[in-house]
């Protein structure tokens, strides 16, 4: 190589080096069957004891004179546990070996405030620890250094959950792909994109970078998902709409690793029976339709579903036909290739309570570790405290 060529190629190389990250073409993580996780957050604290019912335990019926689910009505899973009668869909998933129930999930020194406990679950912190980043956000930060695409973690409703906020990377909230895309196509937004060169001021660069990434993600999400028309029938629930959207995304080949859906209304202090029945109907019907939808298009091989609440409810009912804030709760995992199907561990020990509340035996962060390591196949040590170990359900 003569000197002239050398100068040419090195200046080319340095030019390439100068191209800001967000203008480079998208880089995907290892493709082969694009694995993803769908997380469903049940906000307000679902009453786990009336969801997976210990129907052979007298203590349950003693503690819940007016709101216990009668033994004859439960959908029996084992000789100790049965689903709430409206959860026929979950029962079918259970029978097909697609569902795992993890009992007594919580964390040390449980906090009974909805907000604080949601924070703890979303950031995967300890009870006395305050983190500004969510566990999915840290997954984005740590496992995908080279790519800056917010659509890797997608929240099905605005605003963006703390769970999806990392320190250098964040997911994106999309209520409606078309609407979001149209917003980014408004003239003033387009004009900003034209001015997205590097700025001397670091925060200015960060804002322009976020503008560029938002536009690129909105375009990619809209254009990819519109190639697929989802005709599978869904029940008329809010959660079903979110999950139908997720199924459309997955079937259209969207390269998203984590979908975050949520459903509210579980804070059943008063007249719990009717309200929870409606909520569990929505949950069971929506999730089942989602799984059936993915199976119908042969796309259920790469999806794992995690369903959780910020805490459970007290064992003993209150005076108004409801239950108050509790501690440990059950968590559901639905996946095509479970190592442990059905009940993962023992039902709650109702004789051995902590001041009237269930004692946790499984730290929720060990479930996150399992999903990150065994499903998304990333080293979870930088994301979640790995000393808390993994479970063997997946």
């Amino acid at each position: 190589m003569n000197r002239r060529d050398f100068i040419k190629s090195s200046s080319l190389a340095s030019m390439a080096f100068m191209v800001p990250d967000f203008l480079k073409p998208f880089q995907f993580m290892a493709p082969e069957g694009y694995r993803n996780i769908v997380i469903i957050q049940l906000s307000g604290a679902n009453d786990g004891l009336n969801t997976v019912i210990p129907f052979s335990n007298d203590l349950y019926y003693k503690a819940r004179k007016n709101i216990a689910i009668p033994q004859n009505n439960v959908l029996r899973l084992t000789d100790q546990a049965g689903f709430h009668p409206v959860m026929q869909g979950f029962k079918e998933l259970y029978d097909e070996g697609l569902l795992s129930i993890i009992n007594n999930v919580g964390y040390p020194e449980p906090n009974r405030s909805h907000f604080r406990s949601m924070d703890i679950w979303e950031t995967a912190s300890g009870a006395n620890e305050y983190l500004n980043t969510g566990w999915i956000g840290r997954y984005l930060d740590s496992s995908c250094e080279e790519c800056n695409n917010p659509y890797l973690a997608l929240d099905l409703s605005e605003p963006l959950s703390l769970a999806l906020k990392g320190s250098s990377k964040k997911g994106i909230a999309v209520n409606n792909p078309k609407q979001l895309y149209n917003q980014t196509r408004e003239p003033f937004f387009q004009e900003l994109n034209k001015h997205a060169e590097e700025h001397a001021n670091e925060n200015v660069s960060y804002l322009y970078k976020t503008v560029a990434e938002t536009s690129a993600s909105a375009k990619y999400i809209y254009e990819t998902s519109k190639t697929y028309t989802n005709v599978f029938p869904y029940p008329n629930h809010k959660l079903a709409k979110q999950l139908q959207q997720v199924a459309t995304f997955i079937a259209s080949g969207l390269k998203t690793r984590v979908y975050y859906a949520s459903m509210g209304g579980f804070d059943t202090h008063v007249n719990q029976l009717n309200r929870q029945e409606n909520l569990l109907t929505e949950l069971s019907e929506s999730v089942t339709a989602f799984v059936r939808n993915l199976k119908s298009v042969d796309q259920f091989n790469d999806t794992a579903v995690l369903i959780f609440s910020e805490f459970g409810r007290r064992v003993e009912q209150n005076a108004s036909g409801g239950t108050d804030h509790g501690t440990a709760n059950n968590v559901f995992v639905i996946a095509p290739s479970l190592k442990k199907q059905g009940l993962y561990n023992n039902m709650p020990d109702l004789r051995n309570l902590d001041d009237g509340d269930l004692k946790y035996t499984v730290d929720f962060r060990s479930i996150y570790n399992t999903l990150l390591n065994n499903w998304l196949q990333v080293e979870s040590g930088l994301i979640v405290n790995k000393n808390l170990g993994k479970l063997a359900f997946l």
């Binding site: 957050q41 906000s43 307000g44 909805h114 907000f115 604080r116 949601m118 924070d119 006395n128 305050y130 500004n132 917010p150 409703s157 605005e158 605003p159 963006l160 959950s161 703390l162 906020k165 320190s167 964040k170 997911g171 994106i172 909230a173 209520n175 917003q183 980014t184 003033f188 937004f189 004009e191 900003l192 001015h195 060169e197 700025h199 001397a200 001021n201 670091e202 925060n203 200015v204 960060y206 804002l207 322009y208 976020t210 503008v211 990434e213 938002t214 993600s217 809010k238 949520s262 459903m263 509210g264 209304g265 804070d267 202090h269 008063v270 209150n318 005076a319 108004s320 409801g322």
Partner: protein, 448 residues
Amino acid sequence: MKLKHIYHLYSRIGFGITIDEARQLESKSAEQLINDQLKTNATAGQLTLVTLNDLPNKDNNDTLSPVEKRDQRKLLRDQVKELNTLWMKQLIQSPNFLLEKTTLFWHGHFACRVEHPYMAQQLNNIQRTYAFAPFKDLLMAVSQSPAMLQFLNNRQNKKAHPNENFARELMELFTIGKGNYTEQDIKESARAFTGWTFDNNVFEFRFNQKTHDVDSKTFMHQTGSFTGEDIIDILLQKKETARFLCRKMYAFFVNEKVDETILEELTTFYYANQYDTGKLLRKIFTSDWFYSDGNMGTNIKSPVDFIVGFSKTFDIIPSDELLLKLQKSMDQILFYPPNVAGWPGGKDWIDSTTLMFRLKIPSTLLNGGKITFVEKDNMPEDNFNLPDTIQTSGSATPALLHHSTEEIIEALLRAEPSPDNRRMLLAVAGEPRQLVLKIVSMPEYQLY
């Protein structure tokens, strides 16, 4: 002072200043301007929305039905919301802006979410009363406030069953910071705060000798039968406490990126001056480095800074509903910090959703457009029961429009636009309204 420096100063000691006001200050020095603000009477700006008589009668608490109890909680929550908008409007209108801005700093430093209007108001007033005072006075008053005693469970901190929550946050978040104490220090100091409680009829601090642990404690290598006051004294003797506080104030008032040399200078000054916050603020705002280019337009506006600053610039007082909705959409609601660590700030304010909103909202407000808000369905009872769509009323032609293009750019942007962006703005030089709409829609407008 140079006009540019006046704009910079006022964005940090307050929420901005108009061109006409700024021009009248050109003959003044920073020292004069700061001293005027520091002179503010300690009782100025007290919030007086809620009195003890407004609170529900606790005597018949036991006879209330669950539904009545729920309604009562809702009533209290509604009053906290009123308190929120009352303070927001005060932030927009108060002539004592440094006092309000510093109160806002302490509101985030001693973050507390009690959802009780009287206690919330009382804590806010404490933070205002002692905003410029020696930090010890503020810390003591906050530590003994019913709001904090309740929020950090110190009412449950008794000799027989110590509760460490307050002791832990006192060190981690309020004074010395992580890494400067041990778990044993938390345990020992929690015992010193046993018996700190409050009377929930009059909402005043009480010391309960019967539940206080008088036995000997060993805290940070010192041993004695310490009280809570002793623990606070020991913490303030540590220079790390001064450094921790100065770092936070520097990030808030000067630059999110802290200059370690200046931090040491401030720490030494604050410590030597018995943590006199007023003196520290004067030193910051009269130092040459405060006016260096590297410290201008560096920080991302907090949502409160954004809303209040915008309202002042364009002479708008948003409706109560709109004030709450705007805060919620951008993720900072006064009196509702995410947790005791407060709002993280900086880049944490920004994600795709909040940035799109923040870029879009100024022009919508100026044009009197309709805003549609989207909320997660996670905790409906906390979703404020506000409308999803609000028709805004727009802004009367502000005085701003009568100024030249260069003057308008200088007044509205603290972050220097790139040459390319400046050309884009100069392209609409003859149309001041278009110019203003363009400026407030730029990412640069998000900074101060």
